[in-house]
């Protein structure tokens, strides 16, 4: 399908979803993050539903992918605001039963500290970090999702790591 095609008929729409769903899913999941209880699949569905309903508003000034990622960004941020944060924790039963309970607890506390610090980052920095380190997206792909040149993405990554380092030194608190 051509980038500028508007997939108004159901078959074209199916191809459109096939082309973009993976990238939209990674973007949405990274905005929500692994420690939130929001369902990325639900949000992706909302993104495509909104795109389908608003196709007539797409003016072709940018690529349809860029337009779709913008919708995904807004929808995911809206959902993130209402989702609860669930930081890593050790179930009490596993501590009682496991011989390596103490080790497990130390590991969970360390992960919890990182998770709390990541959650403190601004949306853009957190998303860039998670896209890179969690979903394994390269700089070029992040640039495509966020409509930013490679140099800018590298700069976002570097600043995000720096902010994270500072937060971790303060123990996850701003």
């Amino acid at each position: 399908m051509e980038e500028r095609d508007t997939p108004r008929d159901p078959e074209a729409f199916r191809r459109f979803v096939e082309t973009y769903s993976d990238r939209v899913f990674r973007l949405v999941a990274s905005i929500l993050g692994p420690w939130r209880d929001a369902d990325a699949e639900d949000v992706v569905q909302d993104v495509f539903l909104r795109a389908w309903q608003r196709l007539h508003q797409f003016r072709g000034e940018s690529s349809i992918g860029t337009w779709l990622y913008r919708i995904a960004w807004t929808q995911a941020l809206n959902r993130k605001r209402t989702a609860r944060v669930r930081l890593p924790h050790v179930p009490f039963e596993s501590l009682a039963e496991s011989p390596s309970g103490e080790e497990e607890m130390t590991s969970v506390l360390a992960r919890r500290e990182v998770a709390a610090a990541v959650e403190e980052l601004p949306d853009l920095y957190r998303t860039v970090l998670l896209l890179h380190y969690w979903t394994g997206c390269g700089v070029a792909e992040i640039g495509e999702l966020l409509q930013a040149p490679d140099g800018t993405v590298k700069s976002y990554l570097s600043r995000a790591r720096e902010r994270l380092r500072v937060l971790l030194e303060k123990g996850g608190r701003p």
Binding site: W52, L130, Y133, R161
Partner: protein, 107 residues
């Protein structure tokens, strides 16, 4: 690699990676199209039809509540047919809600 990166990678390694399954795209497309059909089905009927539906519904209610003496109770049950028609026309989304729910259930 810096210590911050190490810690971040270690923390994220234990979290489930966001990987859409093989049929993810098809599932999303099906759901969106079904939801869209459901929403389109919720559009109101044209106003003359809605007025007609409302009048038929009123007539059926008057008939059932007993102003038309002389008919047996069995006949009054027949009034449920125009009442149903009136209700369906006046509130057409009831039918489409049921259809949409079935479509969503069947995937």
């Amino acid at each position: 690699m810096t210590d911050t990166e190490d810690r971040l990678r270690e923390a994220l390694a234990r979290e489930r990676k966001p990987e859409p399954g093989a049929f993810f795209a098809a599932r999303v497309a099906n759901r969106v199209l079904a939801e869209d059909r459901l929403r389109r089905g919720r559009r109101k009927a044209p106003w003359p039809l809605r007025v007609l539906g409302f009048l038929v519904l009123c007539a059926a209610i008057v008939f059932v509540t007993g102003t038309s003496r002389g008919f047996g109770n069995e006949l009054r049950i027949l009034a449920l047919v125009p009442a149903g028609f009136g209700l369906w026309t006046f509130r057409r989304e009831i039918g489409s809600e049921i259809r949409g729910a079935i479509e969503l259930l069947l995937g």
